[in-house]
């Protein structure tokens, strides 16, 4: 059975509300998006939806030691095991609970599927005027080989509050999985959020991840996306600025090899005046890997004094790797500053010779220059433990034992 057939037989056994049923019917009528859909032009789901999956299966429990292998060593963490919230931290001024229902807006086929059938995920609320000192780690662990899993999360960051998260969706003791995740984030007035996504899953993992962020005035939201592992990753990051002086920052790095694919779709909707957005995505492609970047920026008619910056820089380190990059700017206001740039290149030969003449072997020199290329993104990560982890992953991926530290 292919995935659609599996979903039909799974949903037949569930009793779901009429509102959800309606969305499910819409999804089933349309099916998974194909490359004829403009939003999926360069990324085909065909192969992965024709594989055999089990739906929302629950496997064995994991020992604390096995869980900690997937952690960055952060003390405050939420752990989901096959969708079940098995541990959560207790932190002052934060309410954390399991999945709760919400609909969200402008649903696309995958978010319809998510809305109608997902029943795992987190609900987190940060009270007003709360500075959360320590970062919070969120682990979504899957233990079932070939599992199709959906998460649906909601995060509210209260007025004048500050918080940082590290999120990881990971297979534990298995290789194949398909995750469809949807997260709604609301940042209230003058809130500051940093949300880090580590996408370093196993070689046959597939992930479609959508995050909708709604920002009120004076809020700052930074989303860092680190893609190192996985067979297929599609990120949809949608910002909506609903208040003046809001700032949205996106940093992304993809380091891919073999036949990995990573697709970053971003959308910033500047609905209010005097707002900023900053977007920097860097991609490093080896072997037959493939990257896609689509950055849409919309400046609405009355959104004057907008400062929007977007860059997408790519390093193709093999003959068979590819990148499709597309900026998409729609500007309806006249007093704005918007810029975008895209580069595709190779490593600088002169710099390589320079490093080799200093005793640095070719492989290491290439790795070092690749690190230099990505360092701007890595330096933008505010958590030192995560910065270190990113450097470590980069070295591992490039097959060298350098630490890029000092």
């Amino acid at each position: 059975m292919n995935l659609i057939e599996k979903i039909i037989s799974y949903s037949d056994k569930k009793s779901i509300s009429s509102a959800k049923k309606e969305e499910l019917t819409l999804f089933l009528a349309e099916g998974f998006p194909t490359t004829k859909n403009e939003e999926w032009k360069y990324t085909s789901l065909k192969k992965i939806i024709n594989e055999e999956y089990s739906i929302e299966a629950i496997g064995k429990s994991l020992s604390d030691m096995e869980i900690s292998k997937h952690s960055l060593g952060i003390s405050d963490k939420l752990v989901f095991l096959d969708g079940v919230l098995v541990s959560k931290p207790s932190i002052k001024n934060i309410t954390i609970s399991d999945y709760s229902e919400f609909k969200g807006s402008s649903l696309d086929p995958l978010s319809r599927l998510n809305y109608s059938l997902a029943k795992s995920g987190y609900t987190i609320s940060i009270d007003d005027n709360s500075i959360i000192e320590n970062p919070i780690e969120i682990l979504f662990l899957n233990t079932v080989e070939g599992n199709f899993k959906q998460y649906r999360n909601i995060l509210n960051v209260g007025k004048n509050s500050e918080v940082k998260f590290i999120e990881k969706i990971q297979n534990a003791n298995c290789n194949t999985s398909f995750v469809n995740c949807f997260t709604q984030i609301n940042c209230e007035k003058n809130a500051a959020l940093e949300y880090n996504k580590i996408q370093n899953n196993t070689s046959k993992s597939r992930l479609i991840d959508r995050v909708d962020i709604c920002q009120k005035e004076d809020s700052i939201c930074n989303i860092n996306t680190l893609i190192f592992g996985g067979d297929f990753v599609r990120n949809n990051l949608n910002f909506e600025q609903n208040g003046t002086n809001a700032e949205s920052n996106m940093n992304g790095i993809s380091v891919l090899n073999n036949s990995q694919l990573a697709d970053n779709h971003t959308f910033v909707d500047h609905k209010s005046a005097h707002c900023r957005s900053n977007e920097m995505y860097k991609g490093i492609y080896l072997d037959k890997s493939k990257g896609v970047f689509n950055g849409k920026i919309m400046v609405r008619k009355d959104s004057q004094k907008i400062d929007a910056f977007q860059s997408n820089n790519n390093l193709l380190l093999s003959n068979d790797s590819t990148i499709d990059s597309k900026p998409q700017l729609e500007i309806y206001a006249d007093d704005v500053k918007c810029s975008h740039g895209c580069t595709i290149g190779q490593l600088d030969e002169d710099a390589l010779f320079y490093m080799r003449s200093r005793g640095i072997k070719e492989l290491e020199a290439k790795a070092f220059l690749t690190y230099a290329f990505s360092s701007e993104v890595i330096e933008n990560i505010s958590l030192p433990e995560l910065q270190k982890f990113a450097k470590h992953l980069l070295a591992k991926k490039l097959n060298v034992s350098l630490d890029f530290e000092l």
């Binding site: 600088d348 002169d350 710099a351 010779f353 320079y354 490093m355 080799r356 003449s357 200093r358 005793g359 640095i360 072997k361 070719e362 290491e364 020199a365 070092f368 220059l369 690190y371 230099a372 290329f373 990505s374 360092s375 701007e376 350098l402 890029f404 530290e405 000092l406």
Partner: protein, 251 residues
């Protein structure tokens, strides 16, 4: 230490070096001078192993081994160092990170363990003092936004950190003002001992006022056409290259 025999090299069809013979022993300082386009920088690039150049004939023996069989990094590990005429800018890599990697990779090739960060910093501070380099410099990106003089000083800083057997200084004096020249020359002199050797490639005699060469060679049209002691440099400064090139062209 270094024996170059009948070295012929060029880029594609263009022959630049047309039979170089040169012998450098431990403890010696050699200066190679010559007009523009005579092949000075090609010679230094070929010794360091730049792959753009094709060696057609000859050999470069370094302590009993033919350098031409080795990769640039292996040459560095054997103790060959080239101070670049145009050091490359590498944004995103700090000076300290670069030097740490360079020192440790060289140690690894020699079967030694990595140096600790504390130990390395201590040595770096010593060498910085020697070259009058200011604090804050270590965390700057490699040569990125450096002035010409800063770049050259950074080359000599690396020379001091790597302590090679053979140092080739390619036009190290260009872009240096008189104070920087004195500091760099002083650094080179202090690093000099009986076990290492230096080749100074220069257009002018200026640097040779501070670093006294044992031998001076004139390179012209891909060949060493005249060799002598340091008085030859003074003669060149006074009379220019014309009298030599005319002599050669006549033949």
């Amino acid at each position: 230490m270094l024996k170059i025999k009948n070295l012929k090299a060029g880029i594609e069809e263009i022959q630049i070096l047309k039979g170089i013979n040169l012998e450098v022993n431990a403890g010696e300082i050699h200066a190679i001078m010559g007009p523009n386009g005579s092949g000075k920088s090609t010679l230094s690039s070929v010794i360091a192993g730049k792959e753009d150049y094709e060696v057609k004939e000859g050999s470069i023996d370094f302590e009993g081994e033919d350098l031409l069989d080795l990769s640039p990094e292996e040459r560095a590990h054997k103790g060959v160092f080239l101070s670049f005429q145009y050091p490359v800018e590498i944004p995103g890599i700090s000076v300290s990170n670069f030097i740490k990697t360079s020192v440790n990779e060289t140690r690894k090739a020699k079967g030694l363990g990595a140096i600790t960060a504390g130990e390395l910093l201590k040595i770096m501070r010593e060498k910085m003092e020697l070259l009058n380099i200011k604090k804050g410099y270590l965390s700057r990106s490699m040569n990125d936004g450096f002035s010409g003089g800063e770049k050259k000083r950074n080359e000599i800083f690396q020379l001091a950190m790597l302590n090679p057997k053979l140092a080739i200084l390619d036009e190290t004096d260009s872009g240096l003002d008189i104070d920087a020249l004195r500091i760099v020359a002083n650094g080179v002199n202090q690093l000099k001992n009986n076990n290492n050797a230096t080749i100074i490639i220069t257009h002018y005699q200026r640097l040779l006022d501070y670093i006294a060469p044992d031998f001076v060679h004139v390179l012209y049209d891909g060949r060493i056409v005249k060799s002598g002691g340091k008085e030859l440099a003074h003669e060149l400064e006074e009379k220019g290259y014309d009298w030599i090139t005319k002599e050669v062209d006549k033949k």
